[in-house]
C-alpha cells in the first residue's frame, strides 16, 4: 500500500494505492488517522481518493471506521471518492456505503 496526500479545494485528498488487506491495513489505518489529525488542524474535510485501491478487505474497512470515529470527534468529515467497481461492490456488500458518503469522483467529494 502506497500512501500520498495533498491539499486540494480546501480538503486533504488522500490517494492510497494497492490492496488493503490484513498485510497493509495497519499502515492504511495509521496513515488515515494521521490525515484526520492534519485535516482537523486546518479544519478541512478528508477525501479518500479510492481510485488506486485494488480491493479492500474487512481489515481496511474497519480501519476506515476507526478513522471515522477519530474524525467525528475532531469535527472532520471523511468522504470516499472514485472507488473502482470492486471496491464499490465491497462497500455495498459490507453496507459501508451507508456509513460513509461515497462519490463518483474526487471533484464530487470536494463539492459535496
Amino acid at each position: 500500500m502506497i500512501w500520498s496526500e495533498e491539499m486540494r479545494g480546501g480538503a486533504i485528498v488522500a490517494m492510497p494505492k494497492g490492496k488493503i488487506d490484513e498485510n497493509t491495513a495497519q499502515d492504511f489505518g495509521t496513515s488515515l488517522e494521521g490525515a484526520v489529525t492534519r485535516a482537523a488542524d486546518v479544519s478541512a474535510r478528508l477525501v479518500v481518493d479510492c481510485a488506486g485501491i485494488e480491493y479492500m478487505s474487512s481489515r481496511g474497512l474497519r480501519a476506515l471506521t476507526l478513522a471515522k470515529r477519530k474524525a467525528d470527534g475532531a469535527g472532520v468529515r471523511i468522504l470516499l471518492a472514485a472507488p473502482n467497481e470492486i471496491v464499490r461492490e465491497i462497500l455495498a456488500i459490507s453496507r459501508y456505503d451507508k456509513l460513509f458518503g461515497v462519490t463518483e469522483t474526487v471533484e464530487g467529494a470536494l463539492a459535496a
Binding site: D21, S58, R62, T65, I86, I90, I93, S94, R95
Partner: protein
C-alpha cells in the same frame, strides 16, 4: 465426517408466517407458468431445479444445534449447543438408538445464553434412563445454567427429575482433548459472559470448527491471527455471520456477533476449505438470508487470493459431508 445442522438461527427461534408461505407459493406458481406436473415427485423436481432456495424452501428458524457424525469416532453422538434445534435432533436420535446407536451424547456448549440452552428441556433423551449425556463447556457455571432454566418459575420439569445420566465437564482453552474418538480443541471468544469455539478433528484428519457468538473486535484486529490459526486448514468452519460489517461496527457493536465478510477474511487467512454462514439474524426473511449468501459468495470471489473458499449458507436440515 458428516456435519448435520439441526438449528441455525441466532438469538431467538422464529417460524414462517402464513403470509411468508403464501408468498412462496405464489412465486412458485408464477415460475411454473401454467405447467402441470404428473405427480408430487415431478413437482418436487421442479422445486429443486428451477426455484431459488428462498422460494422453494426455508432456512428454518430453530436456534443453534449441530451434530458431527464421525465415521471414525467411538459411536457416541457429538453435538454442539442445545438450542431449539435439539428437540428435533432428540426425536431423530431416538430412531437411531432404536436401531442400535450408542445412547451416549457428548455435547459442546458455545455458551449458556438462552438461545443455546433452551432446547434442552425438550430434548427427549434427557428423559431416557438408559442415556448418558456429557455436557462439555468452557464455563465453570455450566451446570448452574442448565439447572436454573428448569426451576419451577421457568419450567414444570425440574432438572433432578430427568432420568438420563447427566454429567458436566469444564474444558480449558489451549488443551486438546480426546472425546468421542475425536480430537477436540477449545478457543475462548469475545461475547457477553464469554463464548467458546471448538475444533474437531477425526482420525482421518477431517476437521470441522464450530465458532458461533464470537465478536471480532475492531480494536483488536491483530488478535484475528489467533482465530485464523484455530481455523487453519479446516474442511468446514461454522461461523457466526449474523450482521453486516457496517451494523457490527456501529449500532450493533458489542452485541457479541460477527459479519459475513470478517468470517470470509479469517477463513481466507486460515486457508479453510468451506465456510458455513450461521447464527442467522432472526428478523431476516429467507430472501434476506439468500441475498446475504449471494453477497458473501461474491465477496469471497472479489477478495480470493489462493484456493477458493466454498461459502455455504447453513439451514435447518443441511448436511455437509467432509
Amino acid at each position: 465426517m458428516l456435519v448435520r445442522f439441526w438449528g441455525t438461527r441466532g438469538s431467538l427461534a422464529v417460524a414462517q408466517s402464513a403470509g411468508a408461505i403464501r408468498g412462496k407459493i405464489a412465486r412458485a406458481l408464477v415460475a411454473a407458468g401454467g405447467r402441470s406436473f404428473a405427480d408430487e415427485a415431478a413437482a418436487a423436481a421442479f422445486v429443486d431445479q428451477e426455484l431459488d432456495f428462498a422460494t422453494g424452501a426455508t432456512y428454518g428458524g430453530a436456534t443453534t444445534c449441530i451434530e458431527i457424525e464421525a465415521s471414525a469416532g467411538d459411536g457416541s453422538f457429538m453435538i454442539c449447543d442445545f438450542g431449539t434445534g435439539a428437540r428435533e435432533f432428540g426425536i431423530n436420535a431416538f430412531g437411531r438408538m432404536a436401531g442400535g446407536h450408542a445412547r451416549v451424547f457428548n455435547v459442546f456448549m458455545s455458551h449458556l445464553h438462552w438461545d443455546h440452552i433452551s432446547g434442552f428441556p425438550f430434548f427427549g433423551p434427557a428423559f431416557d434412563p438408559n442415556s448418558r449425556i456429557v455436557i462439555h463447556a468452557g464455563h465453570a457455571d455450566v451446570e448452574q445454567a442448565f439447572r436454573r432454566q428448569q426451576e419451577e418459575i421457568s419450567f414444570p420439569v425440574a432438572f433432578d427429575w430427568l432420568r438420563a445420566k447427566i454429567e458436566f465437564r469444564v474444558l480449558a482453552p489451549g488443551e486438546t482433548y480426546r472425546i468421542g474418538g475425536l480430537d477436540v480443541e477449545v478457543m475462548e471468544q469475545h461475547h457477553s459472559h464469554k463464548s467458546y469455539g471448538y475444533r474437531f478433528t477425526d482420525p482421518n484428519g477431517k476437521t470441522a470448527v464450530f465458532s458461533t457468538d464470537s465478536e471480532h473486535k475492531i480494536e483488536s484486529m491483530e488478535g484475528e491471527a489467533d482465530v485464523a490459526q484455530f481455523f487453519r486448514g479446516a474442511d468446514l468452519v461454522i461461523c457466526d455471520t449474523m450482521y453486516s460489517l457496517a451494523d457490527a461496527v456501529s449500532m450493533k457493536e458489542d452485541w457479541g456477533h460477527s459479519s459475513n465478510i470478517v468470517a470470509i477474511d479469517i477463513c481466507h487467512e486460515a486457508k479453510a476449505k468451506r465456510l458455513a454462514l450461521f447464527h442467522h439474524e432472526p428478523v431476516y426473511s429467507d430472501d434476506d438470508i439468500q441475498r446475504m449468501h449471494k453477497e458473501s459468495i461474491r465477496y469471497e470471489e472479489l477478495t480470493r487470493r489462493d484456493d477458493p473458499l466454498e461459502v455455504l449458507c447453513a439451514y435447518d436440515g443441511l448436511e455437509v459431508k467432509l
